[in-house]
Structures are given as structure tokens and as C-alpha cells.
Symmetry: D2
Subunit: 337 residues, 4 copies
Amino acid sequence: MSDLLGVAVLGAGHMGADHVRRIGGTVGGARVVAVADPDSERAEAAVAGRAGVSVHREAQDALRAPGVEAVLVASPEAAHEEALLAACARGLPILCEKPLTPDSASALRVVGAEARLGRRLIQVGFMRRYDAEYAALKALLDSRDLGRPLLLHCRHRNVSSPAHFTSSMLISSSVSHEIDATRWLLGQEITAVTVMRPAPSAGAPEGLLDPQLVLFETSGGAVVDVEIFVNSGFGYEVRCEAVCERGSAQIGDAHTMVVRTPGRAYEDVAQDYLVRFADAYDREVRAWVAAARRGRATGPSAWDGYAAAAVAEAGVAALRTGARVCVEMAERPALYG
Amino acid sequence: MSDLLGVAVLGAGHMGADHVRRIGGTVGGARVVAVADPDSERAEAAVAGRAGVSVHREAQDALRAPGVEAVLVASPEAAHEEALLAACARGLPILCEKPLTPDSASALRVVGAEARLGRRLIQVGFMRRYDAEYAALKALLDSRDLGRPLLLHCRHRNVSSPAHFTSSMLISSSVSHEIDATRWLLGQEITAVTVMRPAPSAGAPEGLLDPQLVLFETSGGAVVDVEIFVNSGFGYEVRCEAVCERGSAQIGDAHTMVVRTPGRAYEDVAQDYLVRFADAYDREVRAWVAAARRGRATGPSAWDGYAAAAVAEAGVAALRTGARVCVEMAERPALYG
Amino acid sequence: MSDLLGVAVLGAGHMGADHVRRIGGTVGGARVVAVADPDSERAEAAVAGRAGVSVHREAQDALRAPGVEAVLVASPEAAHEEALLAACARGLPILCEKPLTPDSASALRVVGAEARLGRRLIQVGFMRRYDAEYAALKALLDSRDLGRPLLLHCRHRNVSSPAHFTSSMLISSSVSHEIDATRWLLGQEITAVTVMRPAPSAGAPEGLLDPQLVLFETSGGAVVDVEIFVNSGFGYEVRCEAVCERGSAQIGDAHTMVVRTPGRAYEDVAQDYLVRFADAYDREVRAWVAAARRGRATGPSAWDGYAAAAVAEAGVAALRTGARVCVEMAERPALYG
Amino acid sequence: MSDLLGVAVLGAGHMGADHVRRIGGTVGGARVVAVADPDSERAEAAVAGRAGVSVHREAQDALRAPGVEAVLVASPEAAHEEALLAACARGLPILCEKPLTPDSASALRVVGAEARLGRRLIQVGFMRRYDAEYAALKALLDSRDLGRPLLLHCRHRNVSSPAHFTSSMLISSSVSHEIDATRWLLGQEITAVTVMRPAPSAGAPEGLLDPQLVLFETSGGAVVDVEIFVNSGFGYEVRCEAVCERGSAQIGDAHTMVVRTPGRAYEDVAQDYLVRFADAYDREVRAWVAAARRGRATGPSAWDGYAAAAVAEAGVAALRTGARVCVEMAERPALYG
């Protein structure tokens, strides 16, 4: 293989363009050789005149472009299944932005295709696993120094939500990060979901149930509460406190420059997830490039993508009914054992 | 009236002895003139040879002792109702440690007696209202600078629980502070309670459901989650974050001396509520003395004591059944309007 | 002796009036029986119609008033020496606001008078010794857990200075607290002083050398830097970091309620020393009352008052000359051994 | 020019090997084509079997290797001058680890050579300018929102010093970072240096004057104090507080995961500068690669390297003599205007 991994990037929107910039910028060992987007102008803008990158309208064409050795899927979620199956068929390592696919049924089809292949090619973009603070928390919990985890208290706040956001998307799109983080940090499955709905904030668009308090029960008996508030107005904040039998550990209050002005000492609050998690995205893509150059996939698997979808569907049902909803999951293929 | 308010202290246990020490120590304007406790030795120890204090076995005798102008009730909760009714009958201002009485029915009888008197004599010992941080949070919420409160996240942790503690007491004895704090901070009633039960900590006594996650819904549409963990092992911690429409405010992370040692920067964690809330107890008793010298009662009322009991009973039912339980409350007398 | 220590308060200005309010308010065990101030209206205002308090124009008259068992000196520093000598002559325990007297020569005369008496009657108002954070730092340093202290970094900031403040007073009036704190925390004498003078802040009155960086060398080889900035504009802040052989400890960054608003997380900064050190003042007066009721004096001694004056004089000389100035001290009487 | 900038790395020690790893790892847009080190084994180990990298004993040979378009100088400081002059002669952009050269005289020769060329080729490795917190502080100071800077309080602590470290090297090697940071943050020259010497820590090697308190005066009237403590034992810490006319700003207290254990809440303290400043090193090399691909140099200049040497020499004299030493500097060539 060549010196640098040749990557096709599918989708040139916000995330896709950021990944194009990242590969060759903060991430070495790879270069973008093809970009696909139905909007050619957007694709050209992402490439920005870089030499040796072909631009395509169709994802399938990008997959077949010369020099493509791996695929980064950043297209709309409706297009994921087809792209994943095609890339799997060509044996290409894949980094797929979350969600894996729009629902658990389609996710399960992707899992099945990869399981039939008999080796992992897919890494799902749950990038919190690559955040330094989350990694420190995971290491501490795994060490059992604080005993068994009993509770996780999670906060997930955005400044404001995009125009198309629905009440269900607070769970399926935003809380999906906490779903994966819960499963990963605890090494347990989520077995039931309840959603409590405060009177919506006046700062949220009419009709949007924002904020919500989402409650998980896990296979190991832990309870998790997640505040999701996508129109908090004040900042992008992701915090997590793990309460264990002999202590607790808290991340996400990271602070930097403290300014003292008359009567107040303040710190800036991050406004955007690309700022808060910039390093995590870099580390995620670096880990993927390193594995892909050996023809492998590591990190969050297609099964993790499926599990997140199954829990999110239970969550959306809990939101709609106001009741506690149990999570039903398929049998886990041996590949993900 | 004399220069110093003459106080009878009923009960010479942990709290009672602490109040005896407080009056004449950190609190001026009052002096203890009588102490009652069935255990005479304990009462004598609390008085510690102070001149001019009479010691009694019976609360009724202490109330009739010369110089008694006000009553501080720190006896076991089973004895509260009788003491409160007797003190009311004598027109004496009362500071009654929480809970007002053991259940909502008896609390309602006390409320009725005071309401018939037509003036407030009873202040209930919800001393968090006198904590500087809680007071700052209350002032901020009342200012509406951050908009309407949507969520309260509360943490309430003890190092370990006394031997007689039951799973219900996590709610009725410990969370009762958060019940009052919620009602006071939000100026709303609690309308429903749900309790989630993680697998108990190995650090808790066999059979004790510890920790619990208690969820309140309020009349104004706010949702409140309370972690109660009475065998946390690591410290006494009371934290509260109010999430509002345009910002959030968090108390209880107060830190003081930061020590840097090889590889670690640390701060001490308070181990006892008498340390964390020492100033609040002082301020509470000072406020009570000031009002009592004018023959009045301010602060948390008997009605607040009743309301806390009613919510706690719903909470205990929710704990037992696993279901969401609505709170039923009597009609509020005009005196507490 | 009576139940409550009878106190004469000399001076009814800001500090004097605060102490009158404190005794009988947050401090039990004592009551004010006499107040002296040349400005009778001010004295009457401080007393606020309290029964049984005589008001005087002359300090000497207050000392002779019936019921006076102890003296709190809060008059202008020029009046201290005469009041101290008179109170000593009457054998009255004294709490004297700092500075002990206006200069080291007069301070030494007071020391001599007390030394001839052969017992301590005077406590000087270096109230930081009673601050909980300073006390924790002192205990940690004394434990030698972190090894020998090598450096102290001190910050002392006021919002703005009173109209009459001079460049010398930054040292003699403000840094005098750090002089005592250094001697007390380290248990060492200050042997030399150097003062560095940044270009003055535009926020300081014309001609005032503000801020200054004051440097101490101590008998045990430690070096201390003190930022004194009395027109900082932003708050009242007192911080201290002790750097030791095996770690460091830092106080004065205490934080309480954290508020998150768009783009910023902030905390309030105290604006006034009576807020920051309110508890320390209470504890100081409580300790003094407790000792005075036994006819004794504890805490900072007249000798400490003298030493502070001697160091401050060296500091003022260092400020004036720009040179390093050695501190000359008299021999310490056995009483203060 | 080729797609990736071809870099020769001179020196394969700790820093050199780290840069080899960085280029092609966290930094894209460049690749290492040649490495030089007298110790061939060390050079080979740094390259780690990477294809297309030539290994040399002599720096001159590496500069002439095919594909070399830029030079990263990480050899011992005694070898810098020759390498810099040779690279300049070949017109190659250079990133030179600090110090530029071992003394101000040799630094001035390098400055002269670059000035005669008439364009900047040299960037000096003062990587703090690329740290996110320092950059935020610089932006805030430049905005003048807080007014003019009056004081900088700097702390610079290492766990322990290498065996060859001398008392002078605390200034010339360690404080050189604060020298550059002071000049850059304030946009002012350092005009005088004083060094205070506490009794050395028992944790420092026999004879090493550690810690020291280094004091700078600047051309704009600011005063800077720097604690340098290279055997602090507890961690690697770099902190800076800028005190301005209308507020202060403090960096370097960044915290991440807070763990609560019995009686203590703690955070880890970084032990190594490659951890604390990992991102700054990445950003530094990225900025250099970006400029070098356009044939330019940005960031800290050879003149900055010279100025740091001149101030450090004054500092070493101040340490030796105990006196205040003025800084003498050559005239600044127009190229660095």
C-alpha cells in the first residue's frame, strides 16, 4: 500500500467538510482522494482546490475512484445503509458518522452483512470514546478503585437546535451519545427507558419538548439520568458524574482562563461541539486511520450502532407514552462478542 | 421582657445539645433557662454546669419553668405534636426541628391548632433556607434573570447512615430537606413523585435501598431529580443546580484550600452536616430569636412542615410500588396564604 | 463576675460600630456596657437605643463606666497608646484593632508596659489568624506534611482606597496583615524588605504608587511576595499560596455559586473585607471574650503588634529608597517567649 | 513543490524523536525525509523503519539529502549556530528548538545572517505562544478590555531536574520560556532583572539554588515575578496571572476529572511538559509547516531568540551577584521591526 491511506469522504456538509480539512491537516497518515456530494459546489468547496482529489455526485462513483482504500461516511443518515453495504462489499474499512442508520431494523441489516463477512470493517463515530476526559473516566471505572458504578448523572446542552429538530430527535440524535457512553463506560446494556418532560423552555421553538430528563436502567442495576437541553441558550456543555460505591468522578467542568472583572470572576463557556470535542475528533480519525492501514476496524462497532438505535427507539416511545419502556434487542453475533 | 430571650430546649441529644451550645455561644440575644430530657445525665451534660438553667425529665415541666419565653423542640419526632400543642397553648414562639411531626395527619392537627390561634408561633427547622448559598440561589431565581426554572438537579450524600435507618427514611428523613428546598426555591408545590432504585451499594447495610433517585414534578411544570446516597462513604455533600430558560446556577461545590502533592491536587470534603451547615444553623437560630423577641414566627411554617410530610408520604409509596404517585394535600388555611 | 462580660468599645466608626453590632449579635457571652467616641451622634447611632449602654465622649470615661470588665479599642490609631496604657493600668483585657499604635517606638512602649505587668492583657486584631482557611493552612504547614515552606505568594486587593490613603499606607496599613500572616504561618521573623513599583494603575488616584510588589526575606530562608493593589477595581481578594518542599497549598480562591449565562460561567467576587472575613471577625471576638472572661489574653500579642510595625517601617523605607532594607528589632521580653 | 513538505530533523533525542513522531502523526502536510544524529542507533530508532527517510551522522549531510525543503533543529544547543547558518545559506525554512544558540553573542550572529538575507526563515521554538490558554490571554491583553497590564505572576514547576542542571540553567533554560512569554504577552522589552534566592529545597540536588524568585521590570513599567522550582516534586505546572488596571486573568489552573474519595476531592496534576503542552507543540509545528510550504517563517523570530538570551544573561548575573542587573540589547534590525 501507498505511504498515505487513500480516503473517500461521502458527504461534504458540516461534518464531511470538517473531516476533509482534518485529513491532511491535524491527522497524518492519510489523504483524501475522493469526495462525493449531490451538491457539487459544496463538494468542490470542501476540497478547496486540493490536488489529486476527485469530486463525485454519487457515493458509488467515489467508492470506485482510483486510490480509494477506506471510506468515511458523513452523508445524511438515510444514505448510510447503501453506502455501508457497498463499502463492505468492496472490503473497505469504514468510519461512519453516527447514527449508523436511521433505525434499528436497518442497523441490524448492516450488522448482519458485516457478521457474514466475518471481520470488522465498520467503526461508528461515537467520538466521545476518544475524548481525554471520557477516557480517564472509563479507565477509572474499569479499575474498580471506586467500586461498582451506581448512578451516572449526565448533562448535554446545546446553545440552540437546528430548525428541523423534533422532540424525538432530542433522544435519537442528541442523547444517542449518552446511550453509547453509558453502554461503554459501564460495559452494560440499557434495559429500560423513562422520559420526564418539564414544561418546555420559552427559549425553545414552539412545540419542541425541550428540555427532557431521560432515565436509563441498565443490566447491572445502575440508573442513569440525562438532562438533554438543546436550546439552553448559554453554551455547549457535556458533563458526566459517575457515582460509585466508594467515590464519584466528574468530567466536563474543564476550565481554563479565569478572568476577574468588577464583582465577577468568569470563564468562557464553549459554544460549539467542534470546539469542545475538537481533540476527540482528531483522535478518533487518527485511530481509524491507524487501524484502516492494517485493514482493520476498532472502536465503536456496527453492533454498538445498532444498540444505540434500539435504545433510542425505546426512548422515543417512552417520550410519546410517558411510560417506562423496556428495550428489546436482537441476539448479538459472535463477531461482536 | 428581659434583655435576653429565655429559651426552653426540649431534647438534649445531638441536635438539642448543639442548640444549647449555640445559644449563648454563637447566637446572642437569648439564653437557655430550661432543658428537658428523659435522660437526666444527658440533659446535665448539655447544660455543663451553666448557671441559671433548670433541668427536667418532662417537657411539660420545662415549659412551665420560670423565665421561659420561647421553646426549641429537639426531642424525638414522636414527642413533637404534644410539645407543639402545649407551647402553642401557652403562646410561646417555637423553633421545631424537622420533621414537624411523624406524619401528615399529625402535622395537619398542629397546623389546625396554630390556624385557630390566628397567628404564627411555629418555625420549622428547614435550615437550608438560612444557608448563604441557598439564599443566593433563591435570590437569583426570584429575580428571574435566568428566566423560569425548568429543572433542579440535587445531590444529597452522607458518609454513612445511622444503624436504625430504613429505606423509607432516605425519603422521609433525608430527602425532606430537598422537598422543602424545592417548594421554597421554586415557590411551587410538588405534585407527583417517582423513585428509581439502583442496585444498592455494597457499602450500604444489607437490605437498605441506598442510593435512590427521587423525581419530583411540580405545579409549575419543573422536574427535580434528587440523588440520595446516605452511605456514600466519601463525604457529606449537598449540591443543587437550577437549570433555567436562560442559564443555570449551581451551589454546593464550595472549595477552600487546594493542596498540591505529587501527582494530585486535592481539597478536603466535609464529613458532617454540622460542619457544612454550621453557619446556616447559626443564622436560623438568630433569625428565630430575633422574631421570637417580638413574639412572632417567620421562616418555614407549620404548613411547610405539613407539606413536606405529605410529599414524603407520596415518596415512600412511590418507593414501595415503583410507580409514579400523585401528592394529595389538604386545603391551605388563610394564615399561611 | 456577671453572666456576660461587660465591654467598653472605644471608637464608633466603621469597625467600632461593627463590633458593637457583633457583641450581643453573632457573639454571645458578652454585652456592650459603654461606648466612647468624640462624635456623640455616631456613638448613639452605634448603640441604637440598646438599654444599659452608657455613651461617652472620652475614652477614659468609658473605661471607668460601671460594669466595664474588658475593652475593645477601635478608635483612630493615634489614640491607641493612651487607651492601651490606661486599660493595662486597670488590669482590663483588651482587644485592640490593628495597628497596635502608629509606629514601632510607641508600640515598644506598650510592649514594655505589659511586660512590666507580667501577664498578657492585649490581643491585637490580626483577625486572619481566625479565618478558617488561614487556620487550615497554618495547621498544614505546622504538620510539616509538605516539608519546609520555601515561598509564600500573597495577593491582597481592594476595590478602591479611601481618599486619605498614601503610598506608604499600602504597606503600613494593608500589607501589615501579610506581615503578621507571614510571621504566624512560618513561625519566623521577617529580616529584610524590598519593594518593586510598577507604573501605577490609571485607576489609582494621582500620585498613589498602586499596585506594589512587596518582597520579604525571613529568618528561616523563605521568600514572600505580596501584591498589594488597593484600587484593583474588581474586588476584595486575599489569596495565599505556600510553596513547600513536597507540595503547595493555596487559599483564598473560595467559590460558591457558579452561574452559567450565554458564553460565560461566573461567580461573584466579594467586594468588602467585612464580607470575606465576616466569620473571622466573629471567631476573633468570640476567642477574645472567652479568654477575657478568664482574665487572660491569647492570640496575636502586643509583641506581634510591635513586630508588624517594625517590618512596616522597613517596608516604607524600602518603598522610598528602592533598595533592600533590613529589619531591626528590639529584644523580645520573656513574656512573649 | 511536492504534496508534502520534506523535512530534515537534526537531532534524534527526546525532542527530536518527538517531532519525528509528530510529523506524519498529528501534523499533516509534511513528512520527514532525513534525520541526523551522531548516535546512529538513536536516529534509526526515531525513524522506526519508516520508508523513504535517510539517516545521517552529520547535520550537513542531512541538509543536502534529496527532498529536503525545510529543517527542524532539535540538536544540542552548541550545534545550533552552524546548522542555522547552513540552512539559511540554502534558503531553507527552519524551526529551531529554544534556545536559538547558547549565548547572546552567537544569537546576534544568527540574527545578522538572517537580516542580511532580507527575509525571515527562522522560527524559534517558544511553543507557549501556540498554547490555547496563552493565546486566549494574549488576545485578552491585546484587546485592552482590562486596561494596561501592571503585573504578571508566573509559576513554573517541574517534578525534578535532570542530573546536569545548574543554578544558572533555572534561568537560562527554564525561565527563558517566561522571558519570551513576558515580551510577547506585554509587547514590551525586559529592562532589568533581580533574583531572590530562598533557602534551597531539601528535595533539590546539593548545591542547586532551587527554587528561585526571578523579577523582571519592563519597558512599559510592568513588574513580573516568576517562581521557578525545578524540583517541586509534585508536578509540572505553568501558571500565569496578568493583573491589569480593570481586572485580572489567570491561566494554567486547567482542571479536568474531579474524583471524590473519602474526605478528599482530587484532580491529577500533569507530570510532564509533553503532556501539558502536547497540543501547543502540535499547533506550533502545524503553523511552521503551513508557513514553510509558502517559503516563509512566522511566530517567534531569531530576534526573539536573541532577546531571550540577552535577558537570561542579565538574569544569571543577577543570580550570581544578588543585585538588580539592567538588560543591554543590540539595535534591532529592520527585518524584525
